[in-house]
Symmetry: C2
Subunit: 288 residues, 2 copies
C-alpha cells in the first residue's frame, strides 16, 4: 500500500520531469540532466506531495515543488559523485554522469539542475506570489552554505580532521547534508497552503536524522546490488558514522526512537497524516 503510493508519486514526478525537460536542445548537458533525474526513491518529492495532500493543496500545484526538490537532489548527487568529491562510478545502479559523459558535462548539468529547481519552485502554477517567493527563498536557504552545502563542507573538513567526529558533530553535519532538503520537502505542503510549518518541521527533523542513521546502517551491512551505489565508503575512509559511534544495535535503537518522535510530531493532523507516518517507518526499513 505505502510502496504503491510511493511508486505512484515517483511516476508522477518522472512524468513532470519529462514534461518540463521536453523541447530542450539535444545537447550532452540536457541529456545528462534528464538522465540524472531518472530513478531513485523520490522520497523528497513524495514528502512534498503528501504534505500538500495533508493540507488539501491541489496536486497540479504541489507537483512543481515536488519536482523542484528532486531536481535539487539530483544536482547534489551529480556533483557529489565527481572525482574531486566522492569519486563514484555508480549511482542508482547506473554509471554516474561524469562516467557516462565527462566531468565538464557533469558540472554543467548539476549547475543547470540547481537553476531548474528554482525555476520550478517559483513557477506561476505553484500558487500565489507569496507562496512562490516563500518556496524559492526557503529552498535557497535549505540548499546553500547554511544548509546542504554546509553539511557537505563539514563532511569535507572532517576528512582532514585529526580526530573522528563526535556524535554532536555528525548530527550537525547530517542536519545540513541530508536534513535540510528533507525538511524543506516535508514543510512544502504547509508553505503551499500558507499554513503553520512547525509540526512538519519537527517531523522532518526526526525523519532526516533517522534517514541518515539508516543510511549508515545500509552502508555497513547493505547489499550493493540493491543499493545501486558503492557501499562501505565511510568505513574504508575511517570516517565516523552513527554506526561507528553507536554500534549497529545502538544505531538501530536510535533510529527507532526517532521514527516514534517523527510519528508523534504528526499528532495534530490525526489519521490524515498516515502516509507520512508510513514514510517514517519506511525510511528505516528500506534496502536501498
Amino acid at each position: 500500500m505505502f510502496a504503491r503510493r510511493l511508486a505512484e508519486d515517483a511516476a508522477r514526478i518522472q512524468a513532470h520531469f519529462d514534461h518540463v525537460l521536453a523541447g530542450a536542445d539535444p545537447l550532452p548537458v540536457t541529456q545528462a540532466m534528464a538522465y540524472a533525474t531518472e530513478g531513485g526513491k523520490r522520497l523528497r518529492g513524495f514528502l512534498v506531495l503528501e504534505s500538500a495532500r495533508l493540507h488539501e493543496v491541489a496536486p497540479d500545484r504541489s507537483i512543481w515543488p515536488a519536482t523542484a526538490i528532486e531536481a535539487l537532489h539530483a544536482y547534489s548527487l551529480v556533483h557529489d559523485d565527481l572525482p574531486c568529491m566522492d569519486d563514484d562510478d555508480l549511482r542508482r545502479g547506473r554509471a554516474t554522469v561524469h562516467r557516462r559523459w565527462d566531468e565538464g558535462t557533469a558540472v554543467l548539468a548539476g549547475d543547470a539542475l540547481q537553476a531548474l529547481a528554482f525555476e520550478l519552485a517559483a513557477h506561476p502554477d505553484c500558487g500565489p506570489a507569496s507562496v512562490r517567493a516563500d518556496l524559492a527563498l526557503s529552498l535557497a536557504r535549505a540548499s546553500g552554505a547554511q544548509g546542504m552545502v554546509l553539511g557537505q563542507a563539514l563532511d569535507m573538513a572532517a576528512e582532514q580532521a585529526p580526530e573522528p567526529l563526535t556524535l554532536a558533530q555528525i548530527t550537525r553535519l547530517q542536519a545540513g547534508k541530508t536534513g535540510a532538503l528533507i525538511g524543506w520537502a516535508a514543510c512544502a505542503g504547509a508553505r503551499l497552503a500558507g499554513a503553520e510549518i512547525a509540526p512538519l518541521a519537527r517531523y522532518a527533523s526526526a525523519l532526516g536524522l533517522a534517514f541518515q542513521i539508516a543510511d549508515d546502517i545500509l552502508d555497513e551491512e547493505g547489499d550493493m546490488e540493491k543499493a545501486g551505489k558503492r557501499l562501505r565508503k565511510d568505513a574504508e575512509a575511517g570516517k565516523a558514522t552513527f554506526v561507528s559511534l553507536l554500534g549497529l544495535e545502538g544505531a538501530r535503537a536510535r533510529a527507532n526512537e526517532l521514527v516514534a518522535k517523527a510519528e508523534a510530531a504528526l499528532d495534530p493532523y490525526g489519521l490524515r497524516a498516515d502516509a507520512l507516518r508510513e514514510a517514517a517507518r519506511f525510511v528505516i526499513s528500506r534496502d536501498s
Copy 2:
C-alpha cells in the same frame, strides 16, 4: 564621472556581500565564496542598481538583486575556471579558487554561490512577493539550460565540432553565455518597479552582444596584466570568435553599431538613462 559611479556601486555591492556573508562558519567553502565575490568590474550589479534608479526604486531594495547577480556571475566563473572546464589559474589578477584551495572546494563554493543568488533575489527586502517571485523565476530562467548554461553547453559542443561556428551560431551561443545575465541585470530595475521591461530588454540585448565582441577584441589584443586573466585562449584553441569571423576592424565597427542601438533603446527614458548609455560606451572601451 562614469568610472566613479561604477566604482561607488561596486563598493556598495562589496559591502553588501560582506554583510550577507558575515557570520558564516569559517570553513574553506565559505572563505572561497567570499574570495570569489571580490574584485571585478561589477558591471551586472551596476546595471541592476542603475536600472532601479531609472525607475526610482530605493537602493536598499535594489542592492539585493544587484548582489544576487554578482553572486551568480561569481559562481559561473568559479566553475568555468575548473580543470574540467577552461582550466584557468588566474582570475581577476589572483589565483582561481581551485588553485588557491582545491577542486572540491571550488565545486561546492560555486554551488553555494548559486544558492546564495536565489536567496538574495527572493529576499523579503527586495519588495512585494510578486516582485520577489518574478525576480527568482526570471533569474532561474536566465541562468539555467535555456540561458547561461545553454551558452556554455553550446561552447563545449563547439570544441568537438568539425567546423568552426558561423556568425549566427556564435551570436546564439553568446546570447546565452553572457547575454542572459546581462539581460536579467538590466531588466531588474523594471521588475523591481513592476514596470515594462521591453525597452531595457532591447538595450541589454545589444549591450550583451557588444560586451562579448569587446571581450573577443580584448582577448586578441588586450594586456594580460590589465585583464587579470589568461588571454588568447580562443585563438590557441582554434575557436571561432567575432574577431576571427569579422576581422578586428569589422568587429570594432559592429560593436559601435550595437552601442548606438543600445543607446537608442533608452530613448523612452530620456536623459535619466544617461548612466546606462555611458555603460554601453564603457563596455566597448574597457581594457579589462
